[in-house]
């Protein structure tokens, strides 16, 4: 009797349609304003039928999201819930709780249209994944990241569409490994480095080996640099700067590879900005006094909300949950 793929045409169905419309506008289109949120809140308050239809679809979306961030991709070996604990990562805030490592138990292949050559790898908010390429190189993806990889005989090419990735590249003199990101090209000769793509800015941190970075955008002013261990390159459309950082600092900055975001004397506003990369719910810090607070903390990448609990319970800050926004104030 029941037909899975029919959407019925009733009063309840009309409400559900409206709920789906709110949800997908908030989730998939980048045009959600405070006015929209207020309108949604008003619609939800109007009737419990509205609310239950919305909650039902919202939790479906949450499940889809949660499962997609657990998704190991094609060609990928499962990530083991490893015991790679960081020696320096003392958990200064006990309330943050146990280290939550992302362990991928299930194997899950999405049926996307056939892609003969380049493979697409991605993670959702708070997600993390390791991709093992056929040449033995490894790429670790941080939160909210999309890359394309084209690795075959005589060619090793990756483009970063968004997010952050750590590369551990197997040396092959005949075939340099090329990474393109936002108009910049990184060419490496057997190295370990990370690339982070942000609006208008690319950051490359080199841990081991040697690599070059150059602009490949035809209209940009040509710039290029050779990176050695400890170098951090910051490239924009028109500039390239390189600075040295001590290796322990770099390792700490890359602690997302082990499922942690580590803050060492960071301001609360910087903490919020960093944590917001890992979650669709955004933390907003209200008031200059609160913004300037200095924080030492280690936060699991897949449970950013742990931080808001600590902010309330340990730092005694006001935490107000507004659904897709969490406001922290003094």
């Amino acid at each position: 009797v029941s037909d899975t793929l029919s959407i019925s045409d009733t009063a309840a169905a009309a409400i559900e349609e409206r709920a789906a419309d709110w949800l997908q506008r908030r989730r998939y289109w980048k045009e959600w304003s405070d006015a929209d949120q207020n309108a949604l809140d008003a619609w939800l308050a109007e009737s419990m039928n509205h609310a239950v239809a919305f909650w039902r679809l919202e939790s479906t979306l949450d499940r889809v999201e949660r499962l997609s961030s657990l998704r190991p991709l094609r060609q990928q070996r499962p990530i083991t819930a490893s015991s790679k604990r960081l020696p320096w990562a003392t958990l200064r805030l006990a309330a943050v709780g146990a280290f939550a490592f992302v362990g991928v138990a299930g194997y899950f292949v999405w049926h996307s249209p056939a892609e003969p050559v380049s493979q697409l790898y991605s993670t959702g908010f708070g997600g993390r994944a390791t991709v093992q390429l056929t040449d033995g190189s490894n790429i670790e993806l941080n939160t909210n990241t999309v890359i394309r990889a084209d690795v075959r005989a005589g060619k090793r090419y990756v483009s970063i569409e968004r997010g952050e990735a750590f590369f551990d590249i197997v040396h092959n003199a005949k075939s340099p490994f090329v990474v393109d990101v936002d108009g910049h090209r990184i060419t490496d000769l057997g190295t370990k480095f990370s690339v982070r793509d942000e609006p208008g800015r690319v950051e490359v941190k080199l841990l081991e080996g040697r690599a070059s970075i150059a602009s490949v955008r035809p209209d940009a002013q040509g710039h290029a640099a050779v990176l050695t261990p400890g170098d951090v390159a910051i490239a924009t459309a028109n500039s390239l700067s390189v600075e040295q950082r001590p290796k322990p600092t770099l390792v700490k900055e890359l602690s997302w590879r082990h499922g942690l975001i580590v803050f060492d004397g960071a301001s609360l506003s910087d903490v919020a900005a960093e944590l917001n990369r890992y979650s669709r719910e955004k933390i907003v810090v209200d008031g200059d006094e609160a913004r300037r607070l200095t924080i030492d903390a280690s936060v699991p990448t897949d449970d950013v909300r742990a931080f808001t609990r600590v902010a309330r319970e340990v730092f005694g800050l006001h935490v107000q949950d507004r659904g897709n926004e969490i406001v922290i104030s003094r």
Binding site: A20, L67, G106, F108, S112, S122
Partner: protein, 177 residues
């Protein structure tokens, strides 16, 4: 309201196959099921605002039964054979509860199977949104369709996935590989 929402998602939604099955068994018109189900949910949550029930499953079935009785009273023509059933409903022993552990274990497979069941264009939009992380506008470009069509695909995708992930279709073996 947030604790009601959390309770609803955690305690009530997993019972959707049970509730749907109950309604299907005891109501004469299959096209009313979606309406009835939503009304049961609304009544449950309204009541939970005052107090959370101790036994959610029992409460869900009692609420459903009361709703069916209300509907029968207000209906102009009562289908005789069904109304007799409703009056005699045995709440406690009617249907077994879902196997929650199995549901958790099968969740990935369910989602995979649910996606496979979606209409092609609808699935394409959902995959682009969730796997490639594209925005609505980017999906429109990629699929070469209007933003309005993208909205419609995503709307339908979400609603169909909800039906398949919470509904009882999987208990009937539908969509399994």
């Amino acid at each position: 309201m947030r604790d009601i929402a959390a309770w609803f998602v955690r305690e009530v939604l997993p019972l959707e196959p049970l509730l749907t099955q109950y309604l299907q068994r005891n109501w004469h018109n299959p096209s009313d099921i979606v309406d009835l189900r939503q009304e049961v949910y609304a009544r449950l949550c309204t009541s939970a605002q005052k107090q959370f029930p101790e036994d959610t499953q029992r409460f869900v079935i009692i609420t459903a039964r009361n709703l069916l009785i209300d509907r029968l009273r207000s209906a102009r023509a009562i289908p005789l054979e069904r109304s007799a059933d409703v009056a005699a409903l045995d709440v406690a022993s009617d249907v077994p509860g879902p196997d929650r552990i199995a549901i958790a274990r099968d969740e990935l497979r369910r989602l995979q199977a649910a996606l496979d069941e979606l209409p092609t264009r609808c699935r394409e939009a959902m995959v682009l949104a969730h796997i490639e992380g594209l925005s609505g506008h980017e999906i429109a470009q990629r699929m070469n369709i209007s933003p309005r069509m993208v909205s419609s695909h995503l709307n339908n995708g979400l609603r169909l996935l909800a039906n398949m992930m919470y509904g009882n279709d999987f208990h009937e073996g539908k969509g399994k590989p």
